[in-house]
């Protein structure tokens, strides 16, 4: 599983998290009572605010809802279960669900297990040009049956690291609006991708400003480093408060038979951090530290490959964003990396940038060079 590593190759508990955990540990007024079914109120409100922005029209118009979930996966699952029951009719398991090719491999299972019978892919990664296949993506959206559900990666696409530009997002939104397609955002890396919370949420917020009703599954695993506490949030944006209220009441029923109520520890940490201006600033700083290290590793790797004169173009390494990079190495080259150089990457050529350190950059660059030139 993918997790951030320091330059020493170690896991990193965010300093602000350590601080807040100590505060929680010292607070004898706290107990372990059940949270409400939908989660800790202060967590839910703050988490959605982070995704949508302080000045979000949807928040101002009181037409958003939040469901605290077990990580991003849990948020996806609750959203999927709700959509299967209530979207495009009642219990319409035939509604097509479109997942990018490629995508996080668990996306498929989430929607299958939620009961959807027609799961399709949409064009995304163009292996030849090592970038976004925008035309293929838009074509798929034009051809998709109306009301189809599209799983969109809010930023730092997993596994390719390739995101649409703002202009491309605008084109995507225009087609989706015209064809009545439902946007279900997966936002697992807000802040972690570019270092800026606002920049990484641009796509979600643009869709909201375009009047879409949408879901956004948020994970705080990476940007808070709270992997094992399972902190996630499903943000619901609707047309008005009444609709959102009814949606949430049905999501409550789904939650009740899945986990009853969510775990409190991680949500407390996040809520405490987000609701204190000082802690919030510290957190943003910690997030930027992680994002900057990854960005540095990207630029260092690229410059080494270019210095070595490794055949091919390597700008995709710095143009891609987030934890992962699709190097463009083919299966044979990947096998060489693993077997001969003991550098572990996926058969797809996906590399976890967090695995790079100042100590191993040279070795990794040389190994890629060898793999490509052999």
């Amino acid at each position: 599983l993918a997790a951030y590593r320091t330059d020493e190759g170690q896991p990193w508990v965010l300093p602000v998290v350590k601080k807040v955990e100590q505060m929680i540990a010292n607070d004898n007024s706290l107990n372990h009572e059940y949270l409400p079914i939908l989660g800790l109120p202060e967590f839910r409100a703050n988490a959605s605010r982070i995704a949508l922005g302080d000045d979000s029209p949807a928040i101002k118009e009181n037409r958003i809802g939040s469901v605290q979930s077990l990580g991003g996966t849990g948020a996806l699952r609750i959203g999927a279960e709700f959509l299967r029951r209530w979207y495009n009719g009642n219990n319409n398991t035939a509604t097509p669900v479109y997942i990018s090719a490629p995508s996080w491999e668990n996306h498929n299972s989430v929607f299958v297990d939620a009961g959807f019978k027609d799961i399709r892919t949409y064009h995304y990664w163009d292996a030849a040009k090592r970038g976004l296949d925008l035309q293929g993506l838009l074509d798929d959206m034009e051809k998709a049956p109306e009301f189809s559900i599209f799983i969109l990666h809010a930023c730092a696409h997993n596994p390719t690291g390739t995101d649409p530009t703002p202009d491309q997002w605008k084109q995507i939104a225009a087609v989706m609006k015209r064809r009545f397609l439902f946007p279900f955002f997966d936002s697992a890396y807000q802040g972690f991708a570019s270092g800026s919370l606002d920049k990484d949420a641009w796509a979600v917020r643009y869709f909201v400003s375009e009047g879409f009703e949408l879901f956004c599954a948020q994970s705080f695993s990476k940007n808070f480093g709270l992997y094992n506490e399972r902190v996630g949030n499903l943000t619901v944006v609707g047309k008005d408060a009444d609709n959102v209220q009814r949606v949430l009441s049905q999501m409550e029923k789904i939650v009740r038979t899945t986990w009853s109520n969510p775990p409190s520890q991680g949500a407390r940490i996040v809520a405490t951090t987000l609701s204190s201006p000082q802690l919030f600033a510290e957190w943003k700083d910690n997030v930027k530290t992680m994002a900057d290290r990854v960005l540095l590793m990207r630029s260092e790797l690229r410059s080494r490959l270019e210095s070595l004169g490794t055949p091919g173009t390597w700008n995709h390494i710095t143009e891609q964003i987030g934890m992962f990079s699709f190097t463009g190495l083919n299966p044979k080259q990947v096998e060489y990396m693993i077997k001969e150089k003991h550098i572990y990457l996926m058969a797809s050529g996906r590399i976890n940038m967090c695995g790079l350190t100042t100590k191993n950059l040279d070795y990794v660059a040389k190994s890629i060079h060898e793999a490509v030139t052999k």
Binding site: L1, A3, P11, V13, V17, K18, E21, A25, N31, H32, E33, Y34, L35, P36, I37, S69, L70, G71, T73, G74, R77, W86, Y87, N88, N90, N106, S109, V110, V112, D113, A114, E213, S221, G225, Y227, N228, E229, R230, G238, K239, D240, N243, V244, Q245, R246, S249, Q250, E252, K253, I254, R256, T257, T258, W259, S260, N261, P263, S264, Q265, G266
Partner: protein, 401 residues
């Protein structure tokens, strides 16, 4: 227009809805006998000392936050299995079981329900006792199973309808699934005696039923963890390969930390490995991997001899306080001059008591006395204190005389 115009407003959750109504009430004498969460004799939530100590140990160790495996914290799942099965259990020692960490009792039940839906091909039918915990039905239904019932509670005697249960169970089609509450039946507090458990085991064996035990109160019922797990262990000894869900919400007071486990007793360790792999395939698209905090607290308590000893004392303390409140309620009712037989209050066990009150009487308790409970007359005895037991007895007498 909205995608959601046709979405109906969901009904309020009956159990948690009681607490919400209670919170809105301004009567200073109000009592919340709804949700099953333990309260001390001052009516306050109780954080166990062994939990605080475990938390201090965790804080001092400065551990990382890396993902748990899909099946959860190994030290926790192993200790959980041992707690349920007993350290001398042949099934435990031989390794012919798999235990995965679940999201408290609900999450563990749900994993089991989904597993049965996918792999138990003989039947879709799950037989619940009448009545059962309200959430059992929707959990199994959402997992794709069908619900049936067997007689259990006798409202005339406020105790077990044993002959009715045996009669119904004898007619359950072979290879169906039967759910049994291991101890402290929720909502009635009515448990079979050991001789009755023996007969039940013989009957389910005869009918070749798959037994699903829900054990949410081990230690919390009688105060003795071995006594409370007796039925589970007896069934396994009789060669019945049960499935089991456990919760640490009540017996360790870890409610909001969601610590629980789901266990499958298998033919052998090899089968257990195959079952485990399938459980992981079910868990991953639900929430990927479970939350660490509660499981780690429970694990430290179970695996640290001093803390385990302390826990056993504390859980007995909670059970004893509840037993004492039952006794005081009955004696206060007598003092009020009630002529009814309230023996069932002390015969029943665990957090809940089926008072036998009718819906109209419950309504009066809520409206006239600000005493909140679920419509079925179930009270959470944990919400009773030496300070309010008199008021409760008085109110019950008023609506039943």
């Amino acid at each position: 227009s909205s995608w959601w115009s046709h979405v109906e407003m969901g009904p309020p959750d009956p159990i948690l809805g009681v607490t919400e109504a209670f919170k809105r009430d301004t009567n200073s004498k109000k009592m919340n006998l709804g949700v099953g969460a333990y309260r001390d004799d001052n009516g306050k939530p109780y954080v166990l000392n062994c939990v605080r100590k475990a938390e201090a140990m965790i804080a001092s160790k400065k551990m990382d936050k890396e993902y748990l495996p899909i099946g959860g914290l190994a030290d926790f799942t192993r200790a959980s299995a041992e707690l349920a099965l007993g350290e001398n259990s042949e099934a435990f020692k031989s390794g012919r079981y798999v235990t995965v960490q679940g999201i408290s009792g609900t999450g563990s039940l749900r994993i089991g329900a989904n597993f049965l839906q996918r792999f138990f091909k003989s039947s879709r039918d799950v037989y619940l006792p009448k009545p059962s915990w309200g959430n059992h039905t929707p959990i199994f239904r959402d997992a794709g199973m069908q619900l049936q019932a067997y007689r259990y509670y006798d409202p005339k005697t406020c105790s077990l309808d044993f002959s009715g249960a045996m009669d119904d169970i004898s007619k359950i089609p072979e290879k169906s699934i039967i759910l049994l509450h291991a101890c402290a039946h929720n909502p009635t507090g009515v448990d079979p005696r050991q001789e009755q458990w023996k007969e039940l085991a013989a009957m389910v064996k005869k009918r070749n039923l798959l037994v699903y035990f829900d054990m949410a109160y081990q230690g919390f019922a009688s105060g003795d963890i071995n006594r409370d797990a007796w039925a589970v262990r007896y069934f396994i000894e009789q060669g019945i390969n049960v499935v089991l869900s456990q919760s640490y919400a009540k017996n360790m007071g870890l409610y909001g930390e969601r610590a629980g486990a789901f266990t499958v007793i298998c033919s052998d360790a090899e089968e257990a490995k195959r079952v485990e792999s399938q459980l992981k395939i079910l868990i991953r698209p639900m929430y990927s991997n479970p939350p660490l905090n509660g499981a780690r607290i429970a694990s430290i308590i179970l695996n640290t001899p001093d803390l385990r000893k302390e826990w056993l004392v504390e859980v007995k303390g909670m059970a004893d306080r509840i037993i004492s409140m039952r006794t005081q309620l009955v004696s206060n009712l007598k003092k009020e001059g009630s002529s009814h037989n309230w023996q069932h209050i002390t015969d029943q066990i665990g957090m809940f008591c089926f008072t036998g009150l009718k819906p109209e009487q419950v309504e009066r308790l809520i409206k006239e006395f600000s005493i909140y409970m679920t419509k079925d007359g179930r009270i959470s005895v944990a919400g009773v204190t030496s300070g309010n037991v008199g008021y409760l007895a008085h109110a019950i007498h008023q609506v039943t005389k």
